[in-house]
């Protein structure tokens, strides 16, 4: 990979995917990272939220993450935003990002993943979106002109069919693998590599990745709205 160091990354969610993604970005030489999360460190999910220790329990995740990342690279610029993202504050947050920012969607909220997809496309911010559940996960880089998350899946599963991570669990190593994978794709986007539009899906029990590269869906509302802006 020809990715030079540097770059600003906006990481939404500092949990199971966000922690390894942040470590991956720092090890790739990121210059600046903005971390957004509303939650505090909880003892019950330390096993996969590898940035935190028992001493951090009760602390805001974004503050604990900032301390840990700066201790790995004192030159790293880290902005910690304790914020619960919603339809009102997402677009203003994305609009204030410096040009060239790469977004990583690491939250555990299905609706938010699609909202971030739509808003990033409209604002022309390259995005990496990931998901992990039990032993399996998916990652996809999203950029205007290529199939987006909504081209791939028209929307999130309905609430009654969603299996919240709090109930079904996430295997720590699966989150680690997918989080680093997201960081790798984000660095590739920063370097201008043509990674957008491909969905990788993997079950960590077989470790056989599936790679899907569909065309953009002509009637995708997110791509359509982005084209008209």
């Amino acid at each position: 990979m020809s990715a030079g160091p540097g770059g600003h990354y906006l990481v939404l969610g500092a949990g199971g995917l966000g922690c390894p993604a942040l470590l991956g970005l720092v090890s790739a030489g990121a210059a600046a990272i903005t971390i957004v999360d509303h939650d505090v460190v909880d003892a019950s999910n330390l096993q996969r939220q590898v940035l935190y220790t028992t001493a951090d329990v009760g602390m805001a995740k974004v503050d604990a993450a900032k301390v840990r990342l700066r201790s790995r690279d004192p030159r790293l610029h880290v902005r910690a935003l304790r914020l619960r993202l919603d339809a009102t504050n997402l677009a203003p947050l994305l609009a204030e990002q410096p040009p060239g920012t790469i977004v990583l969607e690491c939250s555990d909220a299905p609706d938010l993943k699609f909202m971030v997809n739509d808003t990033c496309l409209a604002g022309q911010l390259p995005l990496v979106v990931g998901g992990v559940q039990r032993w399996r996960g998916q990652v996809q880089a999203v950029q205007r002109g290529h199939a987006c998350l909504r081209c791939m899946f028209e929307g999130p599963p309905p609430t009654e069919l969603q299996e919240p991570c709090s109930l079904v669990g996430v295997m720590g190593a699966a989150a680690g693998l997918l989080g680093f994978w997201m960081a790798q794709l984000a660095v590739a986007l920063h370097a201008g590599e043509p990674v957008a539009g491909t969905l990788w899906a993997i079950d960590t029990r077989t470790l056989l990745p599936q790679q899907m590269r569909p065309r953009p869906r002509p009637d995708c509302p997110a791509c359509g709205a982005a084209r008209s802006t």
Binding site: G137, F153, P156, E163, V170, A175, A201
Partner: protein
């Protein structure tokens, strides 16, 4: 027979099997045959109108069936069919 790759959440219908061999001339026929041998799996893939659920993708080889002939997409003897639901955890 075509090979169907079953995603983790649907493996409870296939006794944990990752792959199932099913004969059928179209994706529709394959899903019906799959339901016959593994009752309950159809409604996880298709909605009440018989269309592929919004958050599920069905691929024949590398091609999304939405860009082929949807459920009427022909299935050849050695095709691999993948069912890929959105994973939204983190």
């Amino acid at each position: 027979m075509a090979t169907i790759r079953i995603p983790t959440p649907l493996r409870k219908y296939t006794q944990g099997k990752e792959e199932v061999q099913i004969a059928g001339a179209t994706v529709q026929a394959v899903i019906e045959a799959l339901e016959h041998s593994h009752p309950g799996i159809r409604e996880r893939i298709l909605d009440e109108h018989g269309k592929v659920r919004r958050f599920v993708n069905v691929f024949v080889g590398d091609e999304d069936i939405r860009f082929l002939e949807n459920l009427q997409t022909p299935v050849a003897e050695r095709d691999e069919i993948s069912i890929i639901p959105a994973i939204a955890g983190g």
